[in-house]
């Protein structure tokens, strides 16, 4: 018997990528990967406090195939400071910076047990 769960996860990832994704640009200090298929995951608006100051953020997860994040055949592992540029229907480019939400310190996690997709945590930092 083959790896049913692995095959299923791979199939599901393919369906998600082809039917529920949009093209974004992934920006690193070493270069930009253009037109990467990304599925939008959880969206949040956490409020972080610092004494009397409230800091408002817009967070968004991008789910991207690990195999799609490569520059010159080198695998790119998401890191703080990387950016994802997402163009909306009106042509506005929204910039999301890779960040670590909560207390974990992790900027990404695997989206499945077969290590196909990465769920990348970001926060919106503005538009172009």
């Amino acid at each position: 018997m083959g790896d049913l769960i692995g095959d299923g996860a791979s199939w599901l990832a393919g369906v998600q990528k082809s039917h529920v994704s949009r093209l974004v640009d992934y920006v690193t200090p070493g270069g930009t990967i253009e037109d990467v298929a990304a599925t939008i995951g959880a969206i949040g608006q956490p409020v972080e406090q610092a004494g009397a100051m409230n800091l408002l953020a817009q967070t968004r997860e991008f789910i991207i195939d690990a195999a799609d994040l490569t520059i010159d055949d080198a695998v790119i592992v998401p890191q703080r400071g990387h950016q994802i540029k997402d163009t909306d229907d009106e042509g506005t480019v929204h910039i999301y910076q890779v960040c670590a939400p909560g207390d974990s310190g992790d900027v990404w996690r695997w989206g499945d047990g077969s290590f196909i997709r990465r769920i990348i945590h970001t926060t919106r930092i503005g538009t172009e």
Binding site: E48, A52, M53, L55, L56, Q79, C99, I125
Partner: protein, 154 residues
């Protein structure tokens, strides 16, 4: 009807005026008095300084007198690029130190109302933590919030 302005708000306004009168800060900013700070991180590419009336504390000195401390928070916030370096964080902490130094200068009394001679001076301050680690870890955001206690004099 004359505008009512509580002492603590007049104090906050005087702190704002004092901070904005200085042109030699190591990083430029325009201080603002706010009652409720709700700041999106998108807007924090430059240094933002918020002066917020925080609260009051009173202590009875004797049967006839109270001392009353007015606490004012000063929020200094800036989002940095990528992973912030010690130098970048240090620049903001240095700015906050200079702000606190100026306001706590013992020879300096802050004029609240020149007509009535009302003035205030700092009796103490609290600045802990130096910056908020969750903001730095999550958003590359340096947030420093010293709280200064003031007493009024005439």
């Amino acid at each position: 009807m004359a505008e009512l302005k509580p002492d603590i708000m007049r104090l906050a306004d005087a702190v704002v005026a004092e901070l904005n009168s200085v042109t030699t800060w190591p990083l430029p900013f325009i201080a603002k008095r706010k009652l409720l700070v709700e700041q999106t991180i998108e807007e924090l590419e430059t240094v933002h300084v918020f002066v917020v009336p925080e609260g009051m504390e009173a202590e009875r000195l004797d049967r006839k007198q109270f001392t009353r401390d007015h606490r004012i928070s000063i929020g200094v916030m800036r989002r940095l690029k990528a992973t912030p370096t010690d130098t970048e964080i240090g620049q903001i902490v240095e700015l906050v130190e200079q702000i606190v130094d100026r306001l706590t200068n013992t020879t300096h009394r802050l004029t609240i109302d020149a007509e009535t001679g009302l003035a205030a001076t700092v009796t103490g301050f609290e600045w802990d933590p130096v910056y908020w680690p969750p903001h730095l870890r999550q958003f590359n955001q340096v947030s420093c919030v010293p709280i200064l206690a003031w007493q009024f004099y005439r």
